[in-house]
């Protein structure tokens, strides 16, 4: 199993390494960010093109509709633009983006709770199905896979496994420690194992009946 030096749990064999196919040339992003801070519109556009699909997917994995994700993406970029001076060259850029995206998401979540569904409790919301069929009537595979997880577990798995961030970067983005991230990921994997085992069992039973 490939490791990134942060693997510490002996009890399981979760791979905390970045998925190779999604590994970002982070230095390139940092360079674009530095140019964006200097007022280079081309660099800003390049960043929007590069980062937006990741952030959009991050929102889709948390929310029920792509329309919400579209709104959140726009709101996130406006916020990023407003506070772009808070990024400091040399620091990892993805945690900075994701920290702001999380803030926008949580803010949006609180506002929607306050305005639209006062009577609905937060716990009930987290139990709602997080995936909806897309235009073709087929739910996104990743969202369906992450659906049984809690909101915080989904965002961690999304950052770690889909966006290809390291444990350290995820910890920075979520304002927590590496140990806490590891613990949450282990719990998420436990839940995924259970869910996938049940799914596998059902498939087997269905196959047997046919």
């Amino acid at each position: 199993m490939v490791g990134n030096g942060l693997q510490g749990h002996a009890s399981t064999d979760i791979n905390f390494a970045k998925p190779i196919h999604f590994m970002h040339p982070d230095s390139n992003l940092e360079m674009l960010m530095a140019r964006y801070q200097e007022g280079d519109f081309a660099a800003a556009t390049a960043l929007i093109d590069r980062i937006s699909p990741q952030l959009h997917r991050f929102f889709v994995a948390q929310f029920a509709s792509r329309v919400d994700a579209d709104d959140l993406l726009q709101e996130t970029w406006l916020r990023i633009h407003k506070v772009r001076h808070t990024y400091r060259p040399g620091e990892p850029v993805l945690p900075w983006f994701y920290a702001i995206a999380r803030h926008v998401r949580v803010d949006h979540f609180r506002k929607s709770i306050r305005t639209a569904a006062r009577e609905r409790r937060l716990e009930d919301l987290s139990k709602l199905p997080v995936t909806v069929p897309d235009e073709t009537g087929r739910a996104d595979e990743l969202e369906a896979l992450l659906a049984p997880l809690s909101e915080s577990q989904r965002e961690l798995i999304e950052m770690l496994k889909v966006s290809g961030m390291s444990l350290e970067e995820v910890a920075r983005a979520t304002s927590s420690s590496v140990g806490s991230v590891k613990q949450k990921v282990h719990r998420a994997y436990k839940k995924l194992r259970e869910t996938m085992s049940v799914m596998g069992l059902r498939k087997g039973q269905d196959g047997g009946l046919q």
Binding site: S52, H103, V162
Partner: protein, 232 residues
């Protein structure tokens, strides 16, 4: 089901490209393009932390200069060294964490609650080690004066700290408020140690230390209010 199998499934799912409507990306680019201008990044953490420590020291010294350095004059050399070095180190730690809280994606060593607990606990330990007069004369009346004085001096320290970090961005306003309050509370404690000549152990352990949690709680409440007003 093995974890490796889950990784495989996640990797496979992650391979699926996620498309964003090109029109949306154009709208985003257009919306930020109209206000595109160079910005100056924030200074390094240590510079901002030095500024915060300076603010706390200034507030404590200015307050003591106005009220008198009676506590400092009454202390022995060991008490002075241990108490002020502890307050100084804790102020530095709180300042660094507060700066990190105001910069998205920064490395965090501890949460705001942990910081508040750690600062309070360490102050209690140092005070318990240094003061052994267990009389309790006018415990509440004198104690309340110290608590109010400490908290009142924490207010300008907190306001100046917010001013110094006004270009920062708190992703969690409650946590940021709690940290600002803790830091400002240390300025209040610093002032009390310089000024208060009452060396009764219970007085210092309870009322002087209490400045930090009270100030931290007030900061947290301000952060909560900011969250509800949607300004942070």
């Amino acid at each position: 089901m093995k974890d490796g199998k889950i990784d495989e499934v996640l990797d496979k799912a992650a391979w699926t490209p996620h498309h964003v409507e090109p029109g949306l990306l154009k709208r985003v680019a257009a919306s930020i393009g109209s206000s595109m201008q160079p910005v100056r990044p924030l200074p390094p953490t240590w510079v901002l932390a030095c500024g915060l420590v300076l603010i706390c020291a200034t507030v404590a010294l200015a307050g003591a200069a106005r009220a008198g350095f009676y506590g400092f004059e009454k202390m022995g050399l060991l008490e002075r060294a241990l108490i002020f070095s502890t307050v100084g180190i804790l102020t530095w730690v709180a300042a660094t964490e507060f700066v990190h809280e105001m910069i998205p994606g920064s490395r965090r060593w501890m949460s705001a609650g942990t910081l508040l607990g750690m600062v309070s606990a360490l102050l209690v330990c140092v005070f318990a080690l240094m003061f052994h007069d267990y009389h309790t004369d006018h415990f509440v009346s004198v104690g309340l004066v110290c608590l109010v004085t400490g908290v009142l001096h924490a207010v300008p320290a907190a306001l100046l700290s917010w001013f110094l970090l006004r270009r920062g961005f708190a992703v969690n306003s409650v946590s940021a408020g709690l940290m600002a309050g803790t830091l400002a509370g240390l300025a209040g404690v610093g002032l009390l140690e310089l000024h208060c000549p009452n060396f009764q152990a219970t007085h210092i352990l309870v009322w002087h230390t209490m400045v930090v949690p009270v100030s931290g709680a007030l900061g947290g409440l301000v952060g909560l209010a900011q969250r509800f007003r949607g300004r942070v």
